[in-house]
Symmetry: D2
Subunit: 231 residues, 4 copies
């Protein structure tokens, strides 16, 4: 099943064309560009999102998984920092739950720490030394040590992939630029579970928060970087 | 000029109907509900957004301004905390600008601290004792003292209004729930500058981050609250 | 071995007496007081700090452990939120380490995630449903989801225990008040590894950031609270 | 009046000598070192702290002011980012005050935004384009946009000066390293209002959070830097 039907896509393209005219005329949709020290941030590519039959299951994994594998290979080749996130709770259904208030909106009850659901998909298995952040909220930055970590590594650019565009990816990108990093979102490497959500959120992000780039450009950027020292 | 044409609205409604089916079947779109200690958060209702002829000018002020006035009156009646934000920079075009990286995406160059552009619209003038936060990024919470302030006031619910839905309002709502507050977004009191942006972002928020409520409900909630002591 | 010799204690008491005169005359050393919804925050009572022969080993555990046990029993009786922290790293000695810059100051190399060193001391074993935050920095709040979590539980007061006073406890208390919570530090339940550090840091905190209280008072406060519902 | 009498100083030196032995033997008190892109952070050098007869008045301004002037001159010569802070409130004594909970510990009631008390001392007057952050809490980072700003400028090192060592300077330094910046505290450029507070807090910081350096070294570091471009 495609994430978004041709009809939905066409309707959205028409809207975006009109909106883009307004944005461009007013000085939005500028390019933030690539910096010189990127990190790769892979958001919530855990089984509950990447495999069938979970409430969180997303579409289009046949494209998204290979795109993420290609990015991981390029990032590892240049030894840039790689950070995975998953969303996982110690007591999602108990008293004083670490879900905070989020269980009042979405089905966090299935996201137990240590479960198969919250483990990173093994097609994208983290290598030793790569970071895995078990976050509690949508953003990879909010309530985590990510921003301080990336700054300690002198990172200036965050290549963002994963799911979902209407949730964790979008909030992470908004936080990334607010935290002083250039967000680059890889179009083929992000997904969602409802038609239109990928397209609309990429459109908003590209207008205001970060650059949406095709996989080919991002791979070419990474391949042309000098390898980082292991510091 | 309406923010969103009937054609755009109709196309989006069709998409939302399909998406809502998926969301509901999967356990999203739950109600977060109202708490017992609200604050009113009025985002970026400054002249650059509420008056004509700025790059940031938004639509539909003839509805949004009265809705905000009604909410302010109700909030003041009950003495709940009221917080305004504006986005303003000390040196938006100088060296090491406080725009951070945001001038690389949007026209921050016109948002000088102390300018008419960044002053709160006087139809919504803050009263003495109400807070005005001059933020540098999209979210009213990110890089500000808002979360700590609201916690010190024992606030549990944030009534959110203002502009823009695709930018500052959305990011603020995502942060609000992550910071432990129930976000209630008032449909008639929020806006944007491009067709469809209000509708899509309200849809995403209502699915995952906070409740989108009609003005009437929110006024009724406020009117039924006991007045807060001046503590 | 006592944490602080009588000579050191006497020298410090003389200094504190003089300093307190200045503080009181100027309006510092006020009482923040207890609120109505506390949480118990037990900082870094993991084996590397509570057991002998680690670089991080602290003194006075014969008093600190029983004090913490008494507080845990009282907190559990009233079902208030209990949060433990430990400081632990996924790759403390590898490339791009999650120690950030901290290994450049202190011996983080022994604090591997999953090691005996970083496990909570089993004399204070967390019960199911209690939170355990593996932090990367000194503060229990900085770079963690703690503040958002406590606010979601409508907590207004944080009872703070653990180690070290010159490091993680102090930074956590400073953050707690900044984040809008009343910090209460329990004198008999905190420690350090160098003479004078407990005394000096409690003195600074009591002057400016939170109330330093004897165990007896805190137990009496907890015992007089109504039990929280399991919400 | 000297900040700390020779007797106090001698008692503290004896304690520090013993404590340093423990720290060194255990692998603390390491050097974090200087990076390549510093910023200068001047904390709360506003009249309420630098001039006589305020509750916040600090000692030793005859040394601290010239040290800060020398650092400002060196920083401006190399066009590195300069950030001043003051602590100031919009309604320090009104309802729902922006003091949060801090008025329950210290005399925030005299720190009104726009007052002479909270203005930066004109012997250290900010130049156009330099940032002035009016913070509400102790840390220059907590509840402010400072970390995101410094990252956007690719800063890796924060030269810290100002007052007070037991309050705002200490909390800022703890946050700086947590946020991924190398803190360098300039011994002659920091102060406090009670005897011993400068010495003890510098001792704790140097053991765990940042390097305490003499003015001469810091000036020499700055003078040997290449000038930054105005980007």
């Amino acid at each position: 099943m495609p994430a978004t039907t041709p009809e939905v896509k066409a309707a959205l393209e028409t809207i975006f064309a009109g909106d883009s005219e307004i944005y461009r005329e007013r000085g939005f949709q500028r390019r933030i560009g690539y910096g010189t020290r990127p990190a790769l941030l892979v958001i919530d590519m855990a089984n509950a999102w990447t495999r069938p039959d979970y409430p969180f299951t997303c579409d289009n994994m046949e494209e998204i998984i290979p795109a993420n594998r290609a990015l991981l290979a390029a990032a590892r080749e240049k030894r840039i920092p790689v950070v995975f996130t998953s969303t996982a709770y110690r007591n999602p259904t108990g008293p004083h739950p670490d879900t905070g208030l989020w269980h009042l909106k979405i089905p966090t009850e299935i996201l137990s720490e240590g479960s198969e659901a919250t483990a990173i998909d093994d097609r994208l298995a983290p290598e030793p030394g790569e970071q895995v952040i078990l976050k509690k909220r949508a953003s990879a930055f909010h309530g985590t040590w990510l921003a301080g970590y990336l700054r300690a590594q002198r990172v200036d650019t965050v290549i963002v992939t994963g799911v979902t565009m209407a949730g964790c990816v979008r909030h992470s990108v908004e936080d990334a630029i607010a935290d002083g990093f250039r967000p680059i979102v890889v179009r083929e490497a992000v997904g969602d579970r409802v038609p239109g959500a990928v397209e609309w959120n990429l459109f908003d992000i590209d207008a205001k928060f970060g650059d949406v780039e095709p996989l080919e450009n991002v791979l070419s950027y990474l391949n042309n970087l000098p390898a980082l020292a292991n510091d």
